[in-house]
């Protein structure tokens, strides 16, 4: 395994939050693959090539950068005036210039959705008809009123993770116990997307009640990773990530309790943002761990994710834990690649979380991460290493808190008022039969763990102690972020698992959450941006994507997104699209 921090000096017991230069570490142990452009000097060249590709100037819509990897070219079919890589911006331009109608756009995506669905199976429910109706109504409105009052997401086909309630559309959270449940209300985040003009194409598959890291715990279907159909898309927002990766829709909403947006984004090579806890209303999100749950976007580009995040953020009277803080336009002022100087991140201090690199991280992930860190440095950022000694305690603390809350949150699925209801001779039997059949093994496992942790006599040893660890983790994170503009880490220790690889080994699966859960404990915003590939990692020798996790300050999504955007716009080596899909 290529370990980027194998230098002995880094394994000395560090002073807490010590800042050490990455250069010492890297110079001794890292070899760069020559074809990857990661030096500051080459950034400019990259940008030029990229821009040409996007504007169609090199005469093809996709550019292969290595076997199996092609650059997605959002603007390829569009007017050459669009310099942004944002699919949403492009749609807005097209609607306003009338070069495409909402119906055209929706049909195009529905076609891609249907084409990919038999192989990928991202969606539990497809709402093609209501999407077509919405698109038609939007076109009628444009022809009637013009396009001046269009919302920022007008005509944008989006998918919604099935943990989010959609009025009139079956919402199951991937769980059998909610089969046939049709909510009477929209989750606030969904309502806000609709209010911004978005067109909902379906409900994305997920692990039942978002409990899982592979989407294999869905009670409905197994979603496959578009990069390698023998692999999982990650989880729990696996359907959301896969759908975006194959262009079944422009973006999706996911939910993230311990990494459920970020890990699938990493597995599927897309962008995923977990906002600060409280930034986006949880109303309508079927609760897993209430103090950890966040709703956030997954998209092909940072700018698209930022546009979606702007639409869904802000105080909501239906969620007492939502923040009244002002919501900036997260997509405003994101620089176009062409406008960047050679050191766009000059002055930014970025810390690598030491505990997330090194032993236990797969070589492919480690390589890509190192390259990404180096790339950030080449963009002018001051990259160093920071130690968060409590990191490792985060994972067990997370599993105590998340399962404790889950054991309580899932009590309502008792067969009395909605969802699956099994008859019984008495109420106890109704409960037992309904929950016995309606909740799968992974869900039951977590309910049992949580029930145990909250039981009299164990509370102090588990739940209370976990909360203490949480405070510790949070303090360390905040202290590190007082010294840094952002922290970075891999999103997960490995690339996508093979189907069946970890589902039977819960501990192995839980360990995969090591790098993401601490941000939920701390409530901090974090995003994953594609940062490269594990070459030949797939079953057929395909390249498997790797994501870079960027962590921002509380309510500092704007800064975090800007860093992610600049990284994305300059890291050509990280771009790609799964083969075999349109």
């Amino acid at each position: 395994m290529l370990c980027i921090f194998s230098s002995p000096c880094l394994h000395q017991k560090p002073a807490q939050l010590a800042r050490q230069s990455i250069k010492t570490a890297c110079s001794s142990s890292i070899t760069y693959r020559s074809r990857l452009n990661s030096s500051a000097n080459s950034v400019g060249k990259c940008l030029g090539a990229r821009r040409m590709a996007e504007t169609g100037m090199i005469g093809q819509s996709q550019r292969k950068i290595c076997k199996g990897i092609t650059i997605p070219c959002a603007a390829a079919a569009a007017a050459p005036s669009a310099t942004s890589t944002s699919l949403i911006r492009q749609i807005q331009l097209d609607l306003r210039s009338k070069s495409r109608s909402a119906v055209d756009i929706t049909e195009q995506y529905l076609e891609q959705l249907e084409a990919a669905e038999p192989q990928v199976r991202s969606f539990i429910t497809v709402t093609a008809e209501s999407a077509r109706t919405s698109a038609r109504q939007l076109d009628e409105r444009i022809s009637r009123e013009g396009s001046s009052s269009l919302g920022p997401l007008a005509g944008v086909p989006l998918g919604i993770k099935d943990t989010l309630c959609t009025a009139g559309t079956e919402t199951t959270a991937g769980a059998r116990v909610l089969k046939g449940y049709v909510p009477s209300y929209d989750a606030t985040s969904v309502a806000r997307l609709k209010a911004a003009g978005a067109i909902i194409v379906g409900k994305a598959n997920c692990d039942a009640f978002a409990m899982g890291s592979t989407t294999e715990s869905s009670d409905y279907q197994v979603t496959r990773n578009p990069w390698d159909l023998d692999r999982v898309p990650g989880g729990s927002s696996g359907g959301s990530a896969a759908a975006v990766a194959v262009g079944q829709c422009v973006g999706t909403l996911g939910s993230d309790t311990g990494g459920s947006i970020r890990q699938p984004a990493h597995f599927c090579g897309v962008v995923g943002i977990k906002p600060t806890y409280g930034r986006v209303s949880r109303s309508g999100l079927i609760a897993y761990g209430s103090s950890l749950d966040c709703v956030g976007p997954l998209a092909r580009t940072v700018e698209d994710a930022a546009l979606m995040l702007t639409a869904i953020s802000g105080r909501d009277d239906l969620d007492a834990t939502s923040s009244p803080r002002q919501v900036p336009d997260f997509a405003e002022g994101l620089p176009e690649a062409s406008s960047l100087n050679s050191r766009p991140l000059a002055g930014k201090r970025i810390g690598i979380i030491r505990e997330t690199v090194g032993a236990g991280v797969a070589a492919g992930v480690s390589d890509a991460f190192t390259r990404a860190a180096k790339h950030l440095e080449s963009l002018g950022a001051d990259v160093d290493e920071v130690s968060l000694p409590s990191s490792d305690a985060g994972l067990p603390a997370y599993y105590v808190i998340a399962t404790s809350e889950a054991s309580s949150n899932l009590s309502r699925f008792d067969g009395v008022r909605y969802g699956l209801c099994k008859q019984g001779a008495n109420i106890r039997e109704v409960y037992n039969e309904t929950r016995g059949e309606g909740l799968n093994a992974e869900v039951k496992r977590r309910i049992l763990m949580g029930t145990y942790a909250l039981s009299a006599g164990y509370y102090d040893a588990y739940y209370k102690r976990a909360q203490q660890v949480r405070t510790l983790v949070q303090r360390e994170m905040y202290a590190a972020l007082a010294e840094h503009d952002a922290l970075i880490s891999p999103a997960a220790p490995t690339v996508a698992y093979r189907i069946g690889q970890v589902v039977s080994d819960p501990l192995e699966m839980y360990k995969g959450d090591l790098m993401t859960v601490n941000l939920n404990l701390a409530g901090l915003p974090a995003m994953v941006v594609p940062c490269g590939f594990e070459e030949g990692g797939g079953s057929q020798g395909q390249a498997l994507p790797v994501g870079l996790q960027i962590i921002g300050r509380a309510f500092g999504e704007a800064d975090m997104i800007r860093i992610g955007h600049i990284f994305e716009q300059t890291a050509d080596f990280a771009q790609g699209k799964p083969e075999g899909f349109r």
């Binding site: 209300y185 989750a187 079927i286 309580s408 009395v416 739940y463």
Partner: protein
């Protein structure tokens, strides 16, 4: 063989009371559903039905009312507290947990003064008062209880209605003391405007914990919980029965038969009976409610609530005693808010407290009882009653006429002024001395035989003359003036005859 002589041991009961007070907010504690009476399952929404994805949001009025209750119970108000989840499965509990407060109640360490029927007072400590939500209501078909019923229906109208659970210290020793505490607690809640307070509607539900120990002992005996008492007198009887039962078991050496259990009160038999045994402590797996941020009570809120706080019943009682009213009168006047409010208004309108109390406690209370209405519904305004009382005091009308005209006034007559009404009806008392002198002269002249007899020593005939005079004046002659004038005239006649 010697038989051990049982020394005469005295026992004492230790009683603590938990009371669930339904707060009379417009909407439920954590959603916007109305709390008004409706048909089954009319006041429900996705939130109080615990549909997936729904979240509670605290009703601000619930917080304000809890603070007010805390101040009225002389509690400390926690500047910061939190909600917790109390978890158990039951069909009337939609979420599978009740939002409650476990280790950080909003109110703690209070004390209230209770008053026994003889006017003596007892101070009872309040351990804590915390906020929680009510559950729905089960309607069992074919049985009173879940077990044995053919089927059960759930009405979720009550689910999510705010409750304040008030926990007393174990300071009471008798059924009478417990009843006095319970009625004072209800009085406080009503005077503060915090609940509708109708026991039969379950607005206040009392759970009583009773244990018995040897007098002087510091340790507590096994406690038994008694529920299902629909009045204070039932509570007193239930407790007294329970104390006797436990003392008997102690005395007969069967104290082990006192077990931790919940007993219900059978009103018709005046007995308690076992409802369910508590096998070990139920594990509710409390943990902090993550959907609700901690509760912060600002100094501004406390200040505002204090400023607008109504007078406590104990203060009202003291005020009435300061008015030199008899203790018994003060207790009854301060027993119910509408009565006290009415009485205060009569006195404020200028009536003498003593006379006002007589009217309120006498004729008016009889009338409200008979017509089953509240003092709030009386058509006779406090101002009119004050006018009536004043007219009697001034001698404008007699007390007798006052009582005669009262039914008319209670029907809403005399709204333009009681005196004007009396005048219009010709009921104003004749107090004018010269008019009465003329009247007396007429009567004496009309009855020369009786006058002659009187002068001859038959002084008893004075009553005859009074009767004649009242008849002649149609009862309107002021008796005091009349007597004075009559005596004067009779004395003159007597002197003349000599």
């Amino acid at each position: 063989m010697s038989v051990a002589v049982e020394p005469q041991v005295a026992f004492e009961a230790v009683i603590g009371i938990e009371c669930h007070v339904q707060l009379n907010t417009q909407t439920k504690a954590f959603c916007g559903c109305t709390t008004s009476k409706s048909t089954a399952n009319a006041n429900i929404c996705p939130i109080c039905l615990a549909h997936p994805g729904t979240l509670p949001v605290l009703n601000e009025d619930v917080l304000r009312k809890a603070v007010l209750a805390g101040l009225a119970l002389n509690c400390n108000i926690a500047r910061q507290s939190k909600f917790d989840r109390k978890q158990y499965f039951y069909p009337d509990l939609p979420k599978g947990y009740q939002i409650s407060q476990y280790d950080e109640p909003i109110c703690y360490d209070g004390r209230i003064e209770t008053v026994l029927p003889d006017g003596s007072t007892r101070s009872v400590g309040i351990t804590r008062a915390h906020l929680e939500e009510d559950a729905g209501k089960l309607v069992h078909s074919g049985s009173d209880q879940l077990s044995g019923s053919d089927y059960s229906l759930v009405d979720y109208n009550r689910a999510g209605v705010p409750l304040l659970e008030v926990v007393s210290d174990p300071d009471m020793r008798t059924g009478a003391e417990a009843a006095a505490y319970a009625s004072e607690l209800r009085r406080i809640m009503l005077f503060m405007g915090l609940t509708e307070g109708v026991m039969a509607e379950g607005h206040m539900r009392f759970d009583v914990n009773v244990s018995v120990r040897e007098q002087g002992s510091e340790t507590l005996g096994t406690k038994v919980e008694v529920k299902n008492m629909n009045s204070f007198s039932a509570m007193q009887r239930a407790i007294d029965f329970e104390i006797d039962r436990q003392v008997e078991l102690h005395k007969s050496g069967r104290r082990h038969e006192i077990i931790q259990e919940t007993r219900l009160f059978d009103e018709s038999k005046s007995e308690t009976f076992t409802m369910r045994r508590k096998e070990g402590l139920a594990d509710y797996r409390y943990f902090p409610e993550p959907d609700l941020p901690p509760i912060h009570v600002s100094e501004a809120l406390i200040h505002e609530v204090k400023e607008n706080k109504a007078e406590a019943p104990s203060a009202v009682r003291r005020r009435y005693m300061d008015l030199k009213l008899p203790v018994a009168d003060a207790l009854i006047l301060a027993d119910e808010l509408p009565v006290s409010r009415y009485f205060d208004a009569v006195v404020a309108a200028g009536a003498s407290p003593k006379l006002a109390a007589n009217w309120v406690l006498g004729d008016l209370m009889a009338y409200t009882k008979e017509s089953k209405c509240s003092f709030d519904d009386l058509l006779l305004t406090p101002g009119s009653l004050a006018e009536l009382v004043g007219a009697i005091e001034e001698g404008v009308i007699s007390g007798k006429i006052g009582k005669q005209v009262l039914p008319d006034l209670l029907k809403g007559n005399g709204k333009e002024g009681v005196k004007a009404y009396m005048k219009q009806k010709g009921l104003i008392q004749i107090s004018d001395v010269s008019a009465i002198e003329a009247l007396v002269d007429d009567v004496l002249a009309a009855n020369p035989k009786q006058l002659q007899d009187y002068c001859a020593g038959k002084v008893k005939l004075q009553g005859f003359f009074v009767g004649q005079l009242m008849k002649a004046s149609k009862g309107l002659a002021n008796p005091e003036v009349l007597n004075k004038v009559l005596m004067k005239k009779l004395t003159e006649a007597h002197k003349a005859a000599e």
